[in-house]
């Protein structure tokens, strides 16, 4: 545990020694702010119109703003996470610093978990800034706390999957661009994999539906915590970590 924290804290600090942390966070918050303003004004317009035309209540603030906002946040993170993970191993391999880690009395699992934790911490910092939006909503309206909480939980688990595969691709190459591009392509593919479910038979369709990482987010966005979804995300993260472990071990055998 101590070793994991030693590695995680160094990597976390090093995000802030380079421009990466600032640029990714700034980009993320700019787009998030832009989206929040637009989603909110659209929601207000729609509600005003339905009130004028007296056709009952419009969409709730949870449906109209919260789930929209966090659904879109997941897309932005899909784009940004590769920039966070691509350096983790690729840079160490390029600069030979990986030798320091591999010859230190720490296990491969500790190295991987340390790196995973450092990137997760950066994502948590980014997500921390977005708490301003629910605060604004609570100050001006009365949204449900449940869906907001579960949206964050679901997002963290979903991002965990991106991070795990980001680690894997970063461990496979010493070229950061290659690592980033593979991470993005693969995460996007896992996202849209269920689009093919209509093409294939019903059994395969169900499998593809199950494999799509965004499908498991839907419950969270509605405020439902389903243990099956949590288990799914943890298995995907575990798979990524396991494969990264194999890749790093293979460095020793080569």
């Amino acid at each position: 545990m101590k070793n994991i924290w030693t590695i995680a804290s160094r990597d976390f600090k090093s995000y802030f020694f380079s421009p990466i942390a600032y640029i990714v966070t700034a980009g993320f918050l700019t787009i998030m702010g832009f989206m929040f303003v637009n989603i909110l004004s659209y929601f207000i317009n729609q509600n005003m119109r339905s009130m004028e035309m007296n056709i009952g209540k419009g969409a709730s603030i949870t449906e109209g703003v919260v789930s929209q906002l966090y659904g879109n946040m997941n897309v932005i993170l899909l784009f940004l996470v590769p920039f966070i993970t691509m350096r983790l191993f690729a840079e160490e391999k390029k600069n030979n610093t990986i030798q320091l880690l591999l010859t230190a009395p720490v296990t491969t699992t500790e190295i991987i978990l340390g790196k995973f934790l450092s990137s997760m911490l950066l994502v948590l910092v980014m997500l921390g800034f977005t708490l301003i939006y629910p605060i604004i909503l609570f100050l001006t309206g009365n949204p449900d706390l449940g869906p907001i909480f579960t949206s964050y939980l679901g997002t963290i688990l979903l991002v965990g999957c991106y991070l795990a595969f980001g680690l894997l691709f970063s461990a496979m190459t010493e070229n950061q661009i290659v690592a980033g591009a593979l991470t993005f392509a693969f995460s996007l593919f896992l996202w849209v994999i269920n689009w093919a479910s209509q093409l294939v038979g019903s059994t395969w369709g169900e499998i593809l539906n199950y494999l799509s990482i965004i499908r498991h987010y839907e419950n969270f966005s509605r405020g439902v915590i389903n243990s099956a979804d949590i288990i799914f995300y943890f298995s995907i993260i575990g798979l990524g970590v396991f494969l990264t472990h194999r890749v790093l071990d293979s460095l020793r055998w080569r």
Partner: protein, 312 residues
């Protein structure tokens, strides 16, 4: 302290090291000597757990490299060919990280780091970013990193590369002073380094041990003959024959010119001292002695002999 048995490493069809056997006892400073690509780095990488061997076993500080790698790594300080430094960190932060990573308890980190800084003489850059340091300083930071956790075994892969002559002398002094408490293996293809620091040499060539001995014995082993260089103003066939006739002289090779004649006289080592008889022969014939020197065989020549002997 270090025991290597039948160690073999293959990269695909290429055999990097082939059936290595050696033993290093506590406090020894041993030099790995060999041309580029001889397998020095590979052997070191196996000892540090960076790479695994294809066959054979290696033990460091009583632990097997393959069965208990964590214990082995705890006892080793390693400086790879390129110092593994994070360019975005300051020297002090980096050394603190390296010490923590090697399991130095929190309350001892400060002392360990400052003593490593002091020993490697990098106190004046301790607050600076490693990325802004010159190659020599980075190399010394790399050495500081290796000794920060006070390991029993130090493995240094070409430790003086990129240093200026003054620093090289300092680092060699440092390595020498670390011997005794630490067992040290250092690899190099710079021969004077071995003479300056090591007590024992293991010459590796093409993945095999070509020789392993103390320096003096290694010299004696290769030195079949003593060679003298003689330069005279004139030379005559008669004089040449007379020199050849001196008992113990094995052969004479000559390079003649109008103004100077250079003779290289090889003498059998068991012939005793023949210098007086050579000078007498030269003086008696009034050849005009310009220079008469004894040519000691250098480590370079030993190295070349050891690493080319098999091929020829």
């Amino acid at each position: 302290m270090i025991q290597v048995t039948n160690l073999t490493k293959r990269y695909g069809p290429r055999t990097a090291i082939d059936d290595l056997n050696f033993e290093i006892s506590k406090g020894e400073i041993v030099g790995f000597l060999g041309p580029n690509g001889a397998g020095k780095s590979t052997t070191m990488k196996i000892l540090t757990g960076m790479t695994s061997a294809s066959e054979g076993s290696a033990q460091v500080a009583g632990f097997d490299v393959f069965d208990s790698p964590i214990e082995v790594k705890r006892n080793i300080g390693y400086l790879p060919e390129n110092p593994p430094v994070y360019t975005e960190m300051t020297v002090e932060d980096y050394l603190r990280f390296a010490a923590r990573l090697h399991g130095v308890p929190k309350n001892q980190i400060k002392t360990c780091v400052s003593s490593a800084i002091e020993k490697t003489n990098i106190g004046d850059v301790r607050k600076r970013l490693i990325g802004n340091l010159s190659k020599g300083y980075r190399q010394r930071v790399g050495i500081a990193q290796a000794i920060a956790h006070n390991p029993k075994v130090l493995i240094l892969d070409e430790p003086t590369v990129g240093l200026d002559p003054k620093q090289i002398i300092e680092i060699r002094k440092l390595i020498k002073s670390l011997g005794g408490d630490h067992t040290i293996i250092l690899s190099t293809h710079i021969l004077p380094e071995v003479t300056a620091t090591c007590e024992r040499v293991i010459v590796i060539n093409k993945g095999k041990i070509a020789a392993q001995d103390s320096l003096s014995q290694l010299t004696a082993r290769v030195q079949h003959v003593n060679t003298y260089k003689l330069i005279t103003r004139v030379i005559s066939p008669e004089a040449l024959a007379a020199l050849k006739a001196i008992p113990g002289v094995k052969s004479i090779s000559e390079s003649l010119s109008k103004t100077e004649n250079e003779l290289s006289i090889e003498v059998l080592p068991n012939a005793g001292d023949v210098r007086e008889r050579i000078t007498e022969a030269v003086m008696a014939r009034k050849l005009g002695l310009l220079e008469f020197t004894s040519q000691k065989i250098s480590l370079e020549e030993i190295f070349l002999q050891l690493t080319t002997e098999e091929k020829l």
